[in-house]
């Protein structure tokens, strides 16, 4: 039986310091995050003891690949909602806390946006007059520089990695139809907006390999980083680097929800059909560039199918899986909602694009930019359309286009506001977040799988959290709430 698909997303945001001439994005990111955490006055450092991004899921380690020590002194905070907020590769980045299903990911991902908005406001109050830090939730500057929105899914270590790769690759290539955030023009070598006026995905131009460890160059469709941040004997964490950052809640919900279901199917060896593509990297771009959604892809077995047909195939297989095995691994109710919405958007894409314009980012963006282009008689290469493309992802309420195009909401503001400071109750993130709420001064370091307490005296006490589904409110709330001090907590946990 597939294990619960504990999941989360980590988003690198685009950042610009306006009104200052030349600016250093690393410094700007630090100012941004520091402004936020100072406003909360609850800063706990990240602990890199167990980080090993150079370990490969295929069973070897890359020498010279080490935890990002250089950046650790910059800013690296753990928030009371269980998230990590830090500077990574010259971008502010938030990793959501571990969530138990796709809907929780949507809530904590939206909360992350709100945290960035609050950070911009806090930064403005300490910057010199006329300067402003502006953050975009996108994945490309339109000039060949890309930054990621990664997803993570808990997987059973016993599943052969080769099965994950062959099963998930055609899914990743075709899920751009529902998860793409849309982009004007093209950043692949030798192509411009003349050949590719608009494409489905922000990221497709930047992928060059099928499988690999890299994340910043020669990016692979399936990333092999083997750093589970939990019991490595039992689990792996599938680190997915191929997604776009979504503004649409439905896009995020479907991106994470459909992927979690397909991974559960792969884990149970219930995919049932080999949909391997003849040339996945080529197909990835072909799908992104094909606004007709009608060009067939070549499969490894010699047959042909469009991306839409392959998505229908995955949906059909997922429905059969749901009937025969159930959707416990992704949450029964959420799983059923994912299947329902998945079918609805595929149907929309198939019949009339505008039917999906309230759900999918790329469709919403394409529709509004097309209308603007039409109204003003512009070419796709016009700076106005490129500016609108960027501004779709501007998360400032006064400027955001994504919040103006009528996207359907799955969350309400109350739960999003709560998720800015409160952790999900359903994973170990609850323990991390709740302990930080109550005893931040006694917590000297935190990471995904442990908290380190200083309760006076020697030594520091490390509380391991190797099981993502322990440390939940259901398991620990009574105990944690009945403790008056961190020392009492440590004693009663028997750490």
């Amino acid at each position: 039986m597939a294990i619960r698909k504990v999941c989360g997303v980590e988003t690198e945001y685009g950042i610009v310091l306006r009104g200052a001439g030349e600016s250093n994005p690393i410094a700007a990111s630090s100012v941004l995050i520091n402004a936020y955490v100072s406003s909360l006055a609850r800063k706990v450092g990240w602990d890199f003891e167990d980080e090993s991004p150079g370990t490969d899921a295929r069973g070897f380690s890359v020498e010279g690949s080490s935890p990002p020590e250089v950046e650790t002194h910059l800013v690296n905070a753990v928030l009371t909602n269980g998230a990590r907020y830090y500077v990574d590769h010259a971008h502010p980045e938030i990793s959501t806390p571990e969530c138990v299903d796709a809907r929780e990911v949507v809530v904590w991902d939206k909360a992350a946006e709100r945290i960035l908005i609050a950070s911009m406001e806090a930064a403005t109050s300490i910057l010199p007059p006329g300067q402003e830090i502006v953050v975009h939730k996108n994945n490309s500057d339109g000039k060949g520089n890309s930054y990621g929105c990664h997803e993570n899914y808990l997987m059973d270590r016993a599943v052969p990695f080769s099965r994950v790769v062959s099963g998930i690759t055609p899914f990743f290539v075709t899920r751009q139809l529902i998860a793409g955030a849309g982009k004007v023009g093209c950043e692949a070598p030798g192509l411009s907006w003349r050949e590719v006026p608009f494409q489905l995905s922000q990221r497709a131009d930047f992928f060059e390999e099928e499988v690999g460890l890299e994340t910043t160059l020669k990016r692979p469709i399936v990333n092999t980083r083997d750093e589970p941040h939990c019991d490595a004997q039992k689990y792996r964490r599938l680190h997915v680097i191929i997604g776009d950052a979504n503004l649409s809640e439905v896009s995020t919900f479907l991106k994470v929800g459909t992927t979690a279901i397909v991974l559960a199917m792969i884990e149970d060896d219930e995919l049932g059909r080999d949909l391997s593509l003849a040339a996945p990297v080529h197909a990835l771009r072909q799908v992104s560039y094909d606004l007709t959604l009608a060009k067939p892809l070549e499969l490894a077995d010699g047959s042909k199918a469009t991306a839409l047909e392959l998505q229908w195939q995955f949906l059909d297989l997922a429905k059969k899986y749901a009937e025969s095995r159930g959707l416990e691994a992704v949450g029964e109710d959420v799983g059923a909602e994912v299947l329902r919405r998945w079918e609805a958007v595929l149907h929309g894409l198939e019949t009339n694009l505008s039917a999906a314009a309230k759900q999918l980012d790329w469709v919403a963006k394409y529709q509004v930019l097309s209308a603007y282009k039409e109204r003003d008689g512009l070419e796709w290469g016009d700076a106005k359309l490129r500016a609108m493309d960027l501004q779709y992802h501007d998360i400032r309420p006064a400027r955001s286009l994504a919040t103006r195009v009528g996207l359907e909401r799955l969350t309400n503001e109350e739960e999003v506001a709560s998720a800015m400071t409160n952790p999900p109750r359903t994973t170990r993130a609850w323990f991390r977040g709740r302990c930080l709420q109550r005893w931040a001064p006694a917590i000297v370091a935190a990471n995904w799988d442990s908290l380190v307490f200083d309760v006076g005296g020697d030594p520091l006490r490390r509380v391991p959290m190797m099981e993502p589904l322990r440390g939940t409110a259901a398991l620990l709330e009574d105990l944690v709430e009945s403790c008056n001090t961190p020392a009492e907590l440590i004693e009663r946990l028997g750490a």
């Binding site: 590769h89 930054y147 047909e309 195939q313 509004v368 109204r375 490129r386 960027l390 501004q391 009528g406």
Partner: protein, 64 residues
């Protein structure tokens, strides 16, 4: 993908949806267009003043 076609044809739920929606399509289309026109006006209000400069100065360092 012949098998896919065979399976989808009898999927009555999807066919029904199309039939129900068909009579309202043009009306719906006009409503969507009117909404879009309003939206474009609203976007004009918030769009960056100098698109050329804005686009040119938006440069990021590559990330993951």
């Amino acid at each position: 993908m012949a098998e896919r076609e065979q399976k989808r044809k009898p999927a009555s739920s999807r066919t029904e949806e199309v039939v129900e929606e068909a009579p309202g399509v043009s009306e719906k289309g006009e409503k969507i267009k009117a909404e879009l026109d309003d939206l474009l006006d609203e976007i004009d209000e918030v769009l960056e003043e100098n698109a050329e400069d804005f686009v040119r100065s938006y440069v990021q360092k590559g990330g993951q």
